[in-house]
């Protein structure tokens, strides 16, 4: 599994883990992110059970596992957090698990003993260290009805969950975790966004919300990471995309 450092300033860093070459082909590729500051770390969307061994191995090259103080689940899907009971076995007993209030009872099906710190619909802010604060910002209905992104104003990185996700075929991966040709990348995210996203109102609200943020990198849970001008290119692209394509299959 690859590990790429997206940002580093003193003890504050962002690292992305993904593109696991050894994962079974039928398991969707996911990106996991770790933010560290002041001796604490938070893992964003720690991943599904199947990626856990490779993820644990990759992560523990970077930090001792007991430095992970929190896990954040953007929503309830299995590729996001079915590894939860496994992480809880290696993390410190008081590890915090952040999750939308909507999904606590559902995610307990993965791990009935987990205690969740639930995020209200309007989001919340947490301190990772004395000077690094993270904002859990709402991204409901994109695609999950209880869904959050994570914004780090200091690193100027937005973890965008499924917004910006792309399904890049293995034979088209060119070894980088970043988008290098936005126009060429559209083909890998077009179908995903048209079908997985359903609410135009939610999309418009998200676009308005993130347009106000200073973002150097937009880091999705699948596919490649946008940086620099490609962040705005993505926001402009998604703002004009027709979504909810599954509706066409109803009442035929």
């Amino acid at each position: 599994m690859k590990c790429v450092t997206l940002f580093r300033q003193d003890d504050h860093s962002w690292q992305a883990f993904g593109q696991d070459r050894d994962k079974p082909d039928n398991v969707i590729d996911t990106n996991q992110y770790m933010i560290r500051a002041g001796g604490s770390a938070i893992l964003l969307d720690p991943g599904g059970m199947e990626v856990f061994p490779a993820m644990l191995a990759a992560l523990t090259r970077e930090i001792p596992v007991d430095e992970i103080k929190a896990l954040f689940l953007s929503h309830q899907d299995p590729d996001i957090g079915s590894s939860l009971p496994l992480w809880r076995r290696v993390c410190r007993p008081d590890v915090k698990i952040y999750l939308s209030w909507l999904w606590a009872g559902f995610t307990a099906h993965f791990d009935r003993d987990a205690t969740f710190t639930t995020i209200p619909d309007e989001g919340m802010e947490i301190s990772l260290s004395h000077d690094v604060r993270l904002r859990f910002i709402p991204a409901h209905y994109l695609h999950s009805s209880g869904n959050f992104n994570v914004y780090d104003p200091k690193a100027r990185i937005l973890f965008s969950g499924d917004m910006g996700a792309a399904l890049v075929p293995a034979d088209r991966a060119n070894g980088t975790m970043f988008v290098s040709d936005f126009a060429g990348h559209i083909q890998y995210m077009d179908g995903f966004h048209r079908r997985w996203l359903g609410s135009t109102r939610a999309r418009d609200a998200w676009v308005a919300q993130v347009s106000k943020l200073d973002i150097d990198m937009l880091a999705p849970q699948h596919g490649l990471i946008f940086k620099g001008d490609d962040v705005k290119r993505f926001i402009d692209w998604i703002a004009g995309l027709e979504i909810g394509s599954g509706v066409a299959s109803m009442n035929r």
Partner: protein, 242 residues
Amino acid sequence: MNQVSTPVRERTPRTDRIEARANGLLSDCRRAFHAFGELDELAENLRILSLNAELAAGRAGDKGRAVRALTQYTRELVNRLAQIQGEMNSLRGRTFALSSTILRGLSQMSLFERACGLIDDHDHDARAKSAADHAFHDIMRMLVDTLSDMANCVGELARRAHGVEEVVSQSDSIATNIAIEAAAAGVHEKEFRTVSDTMRHYVDDLRKMIDEASDAVRRASEKGESLRRLGMDSLGELGFNG
């Protein structure tokens, strides 16, 4: 920007071995419960037969006195079967809950075994390996405990099977005694003989059920014990025994 890759995944031989045996154990438990699947129907048939036999015994007057006593005893056996059936249902629920815990534990153990294989290199510090080993050990200990509970369930299942076996044996004797009474029942002989033959037919069905279930229970019991030992040995190898 740094970029590193982890090595290729390894197989999980220890977990595979335990998983194969656990699947065998669960399959034998399922077979035993399946074998007892028609117990309630047979018990109901026996109950109706005893009611009809009692009516026939009433019609036979004095010649039916002994048959009437036998049919009352048959109803007691039917009640015993119903009680065993109820206990078996709760045992089935417990066994399937334990099965689910075992399967979940095996799946987690396999993932941790894979993680231990990936971490066991010079790029990781001892703490990482220790955390993964500890997690593996905790799951193994949970699995050994669950297997012990499972072994208790199999033991209880064996006792219930023995209970059904006793009912079968006593029902067989009752059928024989009704046949003897039939020989001296004159005009009622045919009616009593039909009762006796039908009861024997049910007894044969119950016996087949017991043979199938007992075989499955015996195999489950052996596999459960061997699995528990394998789990204990693995705990010992991990150096966390006790």
